[in-house]
Subunit: 125 residues, 4 copies
């Protein structure tokens, strides 16, 4: 794979494998330590926030209608997903299982009929 | 869905749908604006970093061998994935397509034979 | 200094010295590497965001009127300042000079009469 | 103040006043809401992390010896300080007092003679 990229991860597993291959092809595995990847993840999330920081809530709600801004936000979301997937792979964590386990836990802690419509009762960490 | 959670998103699409349902059941959609979700995403990434911040590189490399620490890190990774998936859904962005597009672009910008083994030539944004 | 803390840094220089002493008293200097402190800084900023994430703009504007929430936000701001000051010290950077240099640069790049009132012309990085 | 910037905040109070004037001159106060400034702060911290993410611990320890890299890191530290100072001002929080209060609290919670030299006993949030 010399600069070419066969398109199309349809699943997280495929994306994970493509990213692993991408790092191997460049001999970048040694830089992809958990701490370094976590920092890279935070860096990309920072860029995502920077794209939205001065928007009013109304502007943010329809930001995808702005082709240029929407394209930048989509690219940042892609970057965040890339580093998150790579970090999970390096740690041996199944990304979807981790999300699913957490969702199950949160569903128990925040039963719909007790928290409905209340921001004060939303998770804050 | 009253506090129960049928297990098992096997795909990003299924996780997306479960999270949408979760928000609807609690009437939380109005709080799930792009800016709020981006802040929540950054908050969870911050917690993930906090779990690793004082570890030496060696400790971080095998952090999953520590059951308690590993469990906390997995839970934080799950939280990050949850907010990232929810944010992409609210914006109408296909998470895997966004990552794939970005990977294709990065592969072109960083051809393996020109950047191999060099941290100086890794993406820094 | 065994768990006691003489009150009152009136200046950044004094805060810097107190934090240096604090780390020395606990033999924590070796953990206070630039990367670790940067991660700790990001972790605290994440907690700060988490305190505000579900607030409406109106609620956020007067959050200090809520004693409990205001107290938590002030504490997080304090944490962020602590790690920022400590990181600058470890790197040998003068925090106020760094801010001043940057402000001078931004003032040149964003002349008041050309950018007045325009969010589109605000810094986005 | 039309693009000019009289040099030299020697104190946090002076920096605070210069930033307030800077925003007023550009009619940017309305964008400087607590949530927007918190997002901008997180964005700048993300850029700071991005500068360090691929460095080895040894490289990071002497990063200021590299003029170009050191200059970029100093500029990012300046940006972080600018948004932190501005956010504290908008919220009516005394930045140094907030740090001092927090340090006093942490000193009580982490007495030197009980936590000396132990990363496991360092604050993790």
């Amino acid at each position: 794979m010399n600069g070419t990229h066969k398109r199309g991860p349809a699943t997280v597993v495929e994306l994970t494998e493509q990213l692993r291959q991408f790092a191997e092809d460049r001999d970048w595995q040694r830089f992809h330590t958990p701490k370094n990847l976590a920092m890279a993840l935070a860096g990309e999330v920072g860029e995502l926030l920077a794209e939205m920081q001065w928007l009013t809530p109304d502007e943010a709600a329809c930001l995808m209608a702005d082709e240029e801004l929407g394209g930048r936000v989509k690219a940042e979301i892609g970057d965040v997903m890339i580093y998150l997937t790579r970090l999970a792979d390096v740690l041996g964590i199944d990304l979807l299982a981790a999300a699913d386990d957490k969702l199950a836990e949160v569903a128990l802690r925040y039963p719909a009929d007790r928290v409905r419509g209340s921001a004060a009762k939303m998770p804050r960490s």
